[in-house]
């Protein structure tokens, strides 16, 4: 008993330390056009933020003592944009040496110094879904982030208590990795086989451990612990939301069948350029889709793409979001959402939902963010011009009521840590994840280092 108390104290104590202390703000945003997403558009309305939460929405609100007022007359206030597919703020993207790496965790490799975070904030983005790359059939667990830029502590970027998510990948990327290493999978059939084998292994693992736990013998011997299998079991048990990189309708449909067979329900297809072909099947399964607005033609498997994808999916009842997968597109996801009005005539609310509430639902954080409602986190973007207009300019971005971007005070050098031996690091707007996309060429091999063929 004493020992248990000791352990409990230790756990509480450790928990206390690891809990990062994030900043929360108080602010009153006055007299803006509030695009709530869930409760319509409110003209000349104030939003009061207390301790990082939206505490009141209404007219003629008074700022409590000491709370800063921001005049948003003529401006638009919308929920912070959420990017359901991003690789910014990560030190590594792929553990590409193996094709099933459910055990790895993007929470281990958060890079709070990535200037792309600030660029995303400057596009009104407040949260990203930091995904493992697409080199593996089953990649690693992802991390949902809040873009609290300015810290050196990676823990402070984590979206507290966001559900666990994991990256899967189908098609050309994992098979290219497999072929280049001479390992499975080298075809789409191999991808399916690996998925089924992995889940069957996980079922066997689960029953081995269940038998061990049920065994009353005090001298029982524990079976081998396998973090990869632990994660796969949690997927089977519905504790981890699956986000699957996919393009073609046949492979999307394949995964629906696999997940049906194994009873896995929480599934979002990422990219899913051909999802429009299986929209009704997705709706029936309850799977959602996170797509590009109109990005295509960068490889064969995206040949049959359409800018109407998001609209077709939405009209067929599939929960849909629009993502960036890029350190550049992330800066203007509001334009990406607006494209669905050009191609498909979505309403303002539908279009904005694609980059706010819908991705929040896909990440299981819609109880906290994705709309402007009392009680939700004060993750908010203020725009000059309607965010769906080509003239839209993001002017301020708040996370937990703390202002992380202000166009009026936009310091040119946003780097957090500086290399004192270099004036400017080699930073380009296209960042590391571009290398990972074509990783087989991007990585210099050790042998190439000493090769005479320069």
């Amino acid at each position: 008993m004493k020992k248990n108390i000791l352990i409990l104290t230790l756990i509480l104590f450790t928990g206390f330390i690891s809990e990062a202390q994030v900043k929360k703000g108080d602010v009153l945003i006055k007299n803006g056009t509030v695009l709530t997403i869930t409760k319509g558009t409110l003209d000349n309305t104030d939003v009061l933020i207390k301790d990082g939460k939206i505490s009141r929405i209404g007219k003629n609100l008074k700022a409590p003592n000491g709370v800063q007022e921001i005049d948003a007359t003529g401006k638009f206030i919308m929920p912070g944009i959420i990017d359901a597919h991003s690789h910014i703020a990560l030190s590594s993207v792929n553990e590409g040496t193996s094709q099933v790496t459910a055990e790895v965790n993007m929470g281990d490799v958060i890079d709070p110094f990535d200037v792309s975070i600030y660029r995303a904030l400057a596009g009104g983005v407040t949260s990203t879904h930091a995904l493992h790359g697409s080199a593996n059939v089953i990649g690693g667990e992802s991390e949902t982030l809040k873009l609290r830029y300015g810290t050196s502590n990676p823990e402070e970027l984590k979206f507290e208590d966001a559900p666990r998510t994991i990256k899967f990948a189908l098609g050309e990327n994992p098979t290219r990795g497999g072929r280049s290493r001479g390992i499975q999978p080298s075809s789409r059939m191999g991808v399916e086989a690996m998925l089924r084998n992995s889940f069957n292994d996980a079922i066997a693992y689960r029953s081995t451990w269940a038998a061990y736990k049920a065994d009353k013998n005090p001298r029982k011997v524990a079976p081998e612990y396998d973090l990869r299998m632990e994660t796969l079991v949690d997927i089977l048990d519905g504790k981890v939301l699956v986000h699957c990189h996919s393009y073609r309708a046949d492979e999307i449909y394949m995964l629906l069948k696999v997940f049906t067979d194994f009873g896995i329900k929480k599934l979002t297809f990422q990219h899913a350029n051909e999802a429009y072909k299986v929209a009704s099947e997705l709706a029936e399964f309850g799977a959602s889709a996170s797509v590009f607005a109109d990005w295509w033609a960068y490889k064969l498997e995206v040949y049959w793409s359409t800018a109407y994808n998001a609209t077709i999916l939405t009209r067929n009842g599939v929960l849909t979001s629009i993502n960036s997968d890029s350190g550049e597109l992330i800066r203007h996801l509001f334009h990406e959402a607006a494209k669905t009005q050009k191609y498909g005539d979505l309403s303002d609310e539908e279009a904005l939902s694609l980059i706010t509430l819908n991705p929040a639902k896909q990440l299981g954080i819609d109880n906290r963010v994705g709309s402007i409602e009392v009680g939700k986190d004060a993750d908010i973007a203020i725009f000059e011009g309607h965010p769906l207009s080509v003239y839209a300019i993001p002017v301020m971005t708040f996370v937990d009521g703390v202002k992380y971007f202000d166009r009026a005070n936009d310091i040119a050098d946003q780097r957090i840590y500086i290399n004192p031996e270099e004036a400017v690091e080699n930073i380009t707007i296209f960042n590391r994840e571009d290398e990972d996309r074509c990783m087989e060429e991007g990585v210099v091999s050790f042998e190439a280092l000493f090769s005479n063929k320069k």
Partner: protein, 564 residues
């Protein structure tokens, strides 16, 4: 007659005594190298027994490898070699918290035929925690002498490798005949790095973190299995004798700490994340960017060894260069200076937040150690805190404070003697005692000591001229010419490879105390890769090591000066 008899008896007795002494010393010494005596007395010196504890006009007696007495009223033993310590300063020998000192880098593990990249053999994956520094310890390694020359008597040295290279041991930086004689404390830490296997799992920090958790959790379970089998094997499956899991047992039971090479602020926090989850005892070494982490270190009780390597100071623009600078460039330059200050002020800021730390020479050049310490002191580190980091704090972090770290009777005779207070620019180390053995160093003339170079007369420079070099690469031998020139106090150099690659300019060429170091960049498939070369010049021979930190690789290089 009686008197004669007594005399004879005494003579015989003395003879016998002499004979027995000789036989006790075992072999004769044809080399004439062994010390005449192991008893020493440093008299009338300023003795800094511990940080802030100074004795003036004191005597230190060393006998049988131990400090026998320290004080102002100490009798000098008759058989002692007396060192006049007038104007000399006596310190405890320094302790290096994390280094490869004494370790010889093994041949790279060749890529196995038919490598299955998701599950490579442990030695290729770099998962060899069952290895020990002792497997790589080489008494001939010149790193031992070069660190001793800088005042270090003890090093916590770790083997070369990848993710889990093996156990670190605490060694004495002495000149010994057998590797065993160097060992003070064997296998005290499990050394861990964020270094992935080339093209195999774990390939990067993602896989390394996961693999570490997996190994640790299994070791916890396996330990229970082993224990219950040891207690009573009847009816229990025989545990597999897995060397990797067995190597984790002392970590799981917290007898052995885990030492991470964690130079960056993110690596430190990643190591701490694993520690919080798994609960092992954590030490981090080679730390370069921890100025924000003081509170975290204190909360977690992490043992910290800061890097003795520092970035080069940004050059201040003057005159025309300054006039031509845009405002933006000026701001960028100012930020470089700000961050330079953070690097050089790291030790001071951690000391101020109450963190007890030691130092690590892992990435440092031995000849720059003192200059870097002085830079840290200029940037706010107190001399007492610097000395504590080099001696008492390092000793207590490594659990050897009962036997070393101070100049006190009963401790191991690890002593450094300098000709001026150590933390002054012109001080030079005159003697080192390691484990009671004395090492003498030549004091250089003032002026010559000023720039730290054993500056040879112009025209007779040991470096300037053309050299033929040769080193092994994974693709075979690379040979060519290196030429060095000297402009004032600055060396420049160029390297021309015989394989037709473009000439490489040698940067940061330094030659001090017989050590020639430089770096050069080569182009590898469009990516610029830095190679660091450092080694000793003996006459017309240069023996060095080429290190490519980007690939955690090094290889020996030799060069011969042409035309001699």
């Amino acid at each position: 007659m009686k008197l004669l008899l007594t005399k004879t008896i005494r003579a015989v007795f003395l003879m016998l005594l002499t004979v027995s002494t000789v036989s006790l010393n075992a072999q004769s010494d044809p080399t004439g190298e062994s010390a005449v005596t192991r008893t020493f007395a440093i008299t009338n010196a300023t003795v800094i027994q511990a940080p802030g504890k100074e004795l003036k006009g004191a005597t230190v007696v060393i006998k049988n490898g131990l400090i026998q007495a320290v004080g102002t009223n100490v009798t000098v033993p008759t058989n002692a070699q007396v060192i006049d310590g007038k104007d000399m300063f006596v310190y405890a020998g320094f302790i290096d918290g994390l280094a490869n000192t004494g370790a010889k880098r093994p041949e790279n593990t060749p890529r196995p035929n038919d490598l299955f990249s998701p599950d490579p053999p442990n030695d290729y994956a770099g998962i060899t925690p069952e290895h020990s520094l002792l497997d790589q310890l080489d008494i001939e390694s010149n790193t031992i002498a070069s660190m001793r020359k800088e005042g270090f008597a003890i090093s916590h040295s770790v083997p070369f490798g990848r993710m889990l290279p093996g156990a670190g041991s605490i060694i004495l930086l002495g000149d010994k005949k057998h590797a065993d004689e160097l060992i003070l404390s064997k296998d005290v830490t499990m050394f861990t790095q964020f270094a992935g296997a080339p093209g195999a799992y774990p390939g990067n920090v993602l896989g390394i973190m996961a693999k570490y958790r997996n190994l640790y959790r299994n070791a916890e379970n396996n330990k229970k299995h082993y224990d219950s089998y040891a207690e009573n094997p009847s009816g229990i499956e025989r545990p597999e004798r897995d060397r990797v899991t067995e190597a984790f047992f002392p970590v799981v039971t917290k007898q052995q700490a885990v030492m991470y090479d964690a130079s960056g602020v993110l690596e430190v926090q990643r190591a701490m994340r694993l520690q919080k989850e798994l609960g092992f005892r954590l030490m981090v070494g080679n730390v370069k960017q921890a100025w924000d982490l003081g509170q975290m270190f204190k909360d977690n009780g992490t043992g910290v060894f800061l890097s003795l390597d520092l970035p080069d100071a940004p050059k201040e623009a003057k005159g025309k260069d300054l006039d031509e600078m845009t405002e933006e460039t000026k701001r960028l330059e100012a930020r470089k200076v700000d961050f330079y200050k953070k690097y050089v002020g790291q030790a001071a800021s951690l000391a101020n937040s109450g963190v007890k730390f030691g130092f690590s020479s892992l990435d440092a050049t031995s000849t720059k150690v003192k200059a870097n310490l002085l830079t840290m002191i200029e940037n706010g580190l107190s001399e007492n805190d610097a000395l504590a980091a080099l001696t008492t704090n390092a000793a207590s972090l490594l659990g050897i404070d009962k036997i070393t770290g101070t100049v006190e009777a009963g401790k191991i005779a690890n002593i450094m003697v300098s000709n001026a207070p150590y933390f002054t620019k012109d001080s030079q180390i005159k003697f080192m005692f390691v484990d009671g053995d004395k090492y003498d160093f030549e004091i250089k003339e003032k002026g010559a000591a000023g720039n730290g170079n054993r500056s040879a007369a112009a025209g007779n420079d040991p470096i300037v001229g053309s050299w033929t070099y040769n080193f092994e690469t994974p693709n075979g031998a690379s040979t060519g010419k290196m030429t060095f020139a000297k402009d004032g106090d600055t060396y420049t150099g160029k390297m021309t490879s015989n394989d037709g690659a473009p000439d490489a300019n040698l940067q940061e060429v330094t030659f001090a105390n017989g050590t020639l170091s430089f770096i050069f960049m080569i182009d590898a498939g469009g990516q610029s890769v830095e190679l660091v070369v450092s080694g000793t010049v003996t006459g017309n021979q240069y023996d060095a090591e080429v290190t490519v930190s980007a690939f955690n690789f090094s290889t020996p290089m030799s060069a011969t000066k042409d035309g001699q």
